[in-house]
């Protein structure tokens, strides 16, 4: 092979490889897309009057179901759902409130808006989900999310309790996906199921577009709040008693 030929072949290889991979990437189907239909718009109602401050059934169920990484270090632990305790500013003896926080599955998700590879996207049924095979790990979604609901796999997750669901490699971002894989099978998300089984029944998931669904009625009959509604992100997690 002479020099010219070598350069030609090398150049072709250099340009060709990313092109082929690019085409393959373009053709790759979305995971969790199969069950998505625009006939439904999933939302959640959390009734804080029925949510005991010291209960953590939803957190544990979520970790088990989705193989969410706990490294024992606050800097890198991942929380698809976490409980926070709040009280009025500058009033040390004001009553406190404890509530679960999770991805709000915004109708206008800033995380999906900024994702450079469209790895984070909104499904037809309104669920905001991450394609972990596409995420490049730029962490722009963590920057853009106004709810601190996005997390990054800073290190490898050694635990893999639920073999039926994939765990994530280090280097990709993730957040709650309303257990899309379960909803697609007609089962409630793990947190909702655990909350129901614990007897509290504070978490409800359902179709926001159906006026007769349980959560639509709860929203209509109660005074509900969403977190930072003023941002215009249109969150789909509603709180009763916040």
């Amino acid at each position: 092979m002479d020099r010219r030929e070598f350069l030609k072949t090398g150049g072709l290889f250099l340009v060709g490889t990313p092109c082929v991979y690019g085409l393959m990437a373009m053709a790759a189907p979305r995971p969790h897309e199969a069950g998505a239909t625009d006939a439904r718009r999933w939302g959640m109602v959390i009734d804080l009057n029925r949510c005991p401050a010291d209960c953590s059934a939803c957190l544990e169920a979520c970790r088990r179901e989705n193989n969410v990484a706990v490294h024992g270090d606050r800097r890198w632990d991942i929380h698809w759902i976490r409980k926070v305790t709040i009280r009025k500013k500058h009033e040390a003896d004001a009553p406190t409130r404890t509530l679960p926080l999770l991805c709000n599955h915004c109708d206008h998700p800033p995380c999906a808006q900024v994702c450079p590879v469209q790895a984070t996207y909104k499904r037809a049924d309104g669920i905001v989900i991450v394609d972990h095979h596409r995420c490049i790990g730029c962490r722009y979604c963590l920057i853009a999310c106004p709810y601190n609901a996005r997390y990054f796999n800073y290190r490898e997750n050694d635990e893999w309790p639920n073999k039926a669901y994939p765990k994530r490699s280090h280097g990709v971002a993730e957040s709650c996906n309303f257990c899309a894989h379960r909803l697609d099978q007609g089962r409630p998300p793990a947190c909702v199921e655990a909350c129901r089984d614990s007897g509290a029944g504070a978490l409800k998931v359902g179709d926001l577009d159906d006026p007769d669904s349980e959560i639509s009625r709860l929203i209509a009959d109660n005074s509900v709040k969403r977190i930072r509604e003023d941002l215009g992100t249109e969150p789909k997690v509603y709180y009763i008693g916040l």
């Binding site: 409980k83 963590l142 990054f152």
Partner: protein
């Protein structure tokens, strides 16, 4: 005007030692990056609350530096200032290298570097500044290469056209880089003044770096550089500093004035180490002192003082870049207005980012790589002119030079150029 370009010989021991030292640093950076690819980027100082750190700071710092070089290059290309023609090639080369450094910093910061070269092209997201900017950066590098070719081949008209294109393109690049932060719903990020302030600080840091590179290069290679040219660049730098300071002060006054962002702004302007970086690093050391030095007749016409001011400006803008990225992350988003979070599994309050050693190695590696390319370029590309003389000087400039020469004679310790 004919200019002779003569690459450096590059056969001295010092030259090879420099190349070796740079390569060692590059190897250290590569090692750090490989470790992060293997074990995850918890090896950096970043956390779920502070997801961006030193690499992003350095990326925007490098990208900013490339702007000033281009403007110096454009003085000849666009405005036809023949005095600056000797610098045009070096400036264009540096602009390209710094863009590469910026891009490399961003690439090595990703969690999945293996996907960076495919996914962004296969799934371009038009609403993401992180999609738009790499396209702008890549285009910029291409135009810089074409521009250098036009300069090397002495294409008169084509050089001018390319020069205009590359400066306009650079404006887009910098506006886009500022928009990465400005276009997100974060308290200390979402200000429309961020892109302009980014451009302004880019111009001042770039011009300062250009002065440093030119003065040291001409000195080390023992080539003649007219004092007048350095003085002129110093004047240009002084104007850039004032513009940058104006935009940055307005930006902060605005967000401090608005009650909704006052808490966050006062946290970063008056508390903790940010306050030291802002008032000490950016305002006093990086802006006021160099501006005064450059505007004063005696110091503004003395090359050592101009060089000193340039060092200060580069340090100040590095502080500014840090302040763009970090305070907005270390300060938490306001999840519950009027309430405070007293318990959570996540750190919900103010957190502090601490740079890790591996991150520093990565940053040094990137800088050394472009340093390596620059040193090689000096040997193999016709970049360096044999001399740089100011022609057709005005009377005012002649007076300045006379004064500078008198200064140099009065202070025998100050190095003549």
């Amino acid at each position: 005007m004919e200019i002779d370009y003569e690459p450096i010989a590059g056969r001295s021991t010092g030259y090879y030692l420099l190349l070796t030292a740079l390569l060692v640093l590059v190897a250290a950076g590569v090692t750090a990056t490989v470790l992060m690819i293997a074990y995850g980027i918890h090896l950096s100082g970043m956390t779920n609350r502070v997801p961006w750190g030193l690499q992003i700071v350095m990326a925007i710092f490098y990208i900013g530096l490339s702007a000033g070089s281009l403007v110096v290059s454009g003085l000849y290309g666009i405005f036809g200032k023949l005095e600056y023609k000797p610098f045009a090639r070096i400036a264009a080369f540096l602009a390209m290298l710094f863009l590469i450094a910026g891009l490399l910093s961003i690439v090595t910061d990703q969690g999945r570097i293996d996907r960076v070269f495919v996914q962004p092209f296969a799934h371009f997201n038009a609403t993401s500044m992180f999609s738009i900017n790499p396209a702008l950066y890549m285009g910029h590098i291409m135009i810089c290469i074409f521009y250098m070719w036009a300069l090397f081949k002495e294409k008169g008209r084509l050089t001018k056209v390319t020069s205009v294109t590359v400066v306009l393109w650079a404006l887009c690049v910098h506006t886009g880089t500022g928009a990465i932060f400005a276009f997100t719903p974060r308290e200390l990020y979402n200000t429309a003044l961020l892109p302009p302030s980014f451009v302004a600080a880019a111009l001042s840091s770039g011009a300062a770096l250009m002065i440093l590179v030119l003065v040291s290069l001409f000195r080390i290679t023992r080539r003649h550089l007219d004092v007048a040219l350095v003085i002129w660049l110093g004047r240009l730098l002084a104007v850039f500093i004032i513009v940058a300071m104006y935009v940055i002060l307005i930006e902060n006054a605005h967000r401090f004035y608005l009650i909704e962002s006052r808490e966050a702004t006062s946290y970063y302007l008056f508390k903790g180490y940010h306050a030291v970086l802002f008032w000490g690093g950016l305002i006093v050391v990086g802006s006021v002192v160099p501006a005064v030095l450059l505007f004063r007749r005696r110091t503004g016409t003395s090359v050592p003082w101009i060089v000193f001011s340039s060092v200060l400006v580069v340090v100040g803008v590095l502080c500014e870049r840090y302040l763009i990225v970090l305070p907005g992350l270390e300060h938490p988003p306001n999840l519950f207005p009027g309430m405070e979070i007293i318990a959570s599994a996540l750190d919900e309050g103010i957190v502090t980012y601490s740079i890790s050693l591996l991150e520093i190695l990565q940053a040094l590696g990137v800088l050394s790589l472009i340093g390596f390319m620059f040193v090689l370029g000096l040997k193999y590309l016709p970049l360096l002119p044999t001399e740089a003389r100011a022609h057709g000087q005005s009377q005012r400039l002649k007076d300045l030079i006379a004064r500078a020469t008198a200064n140099a004679e009065a202070e025998p310790t100050s190095p003549a150029v």
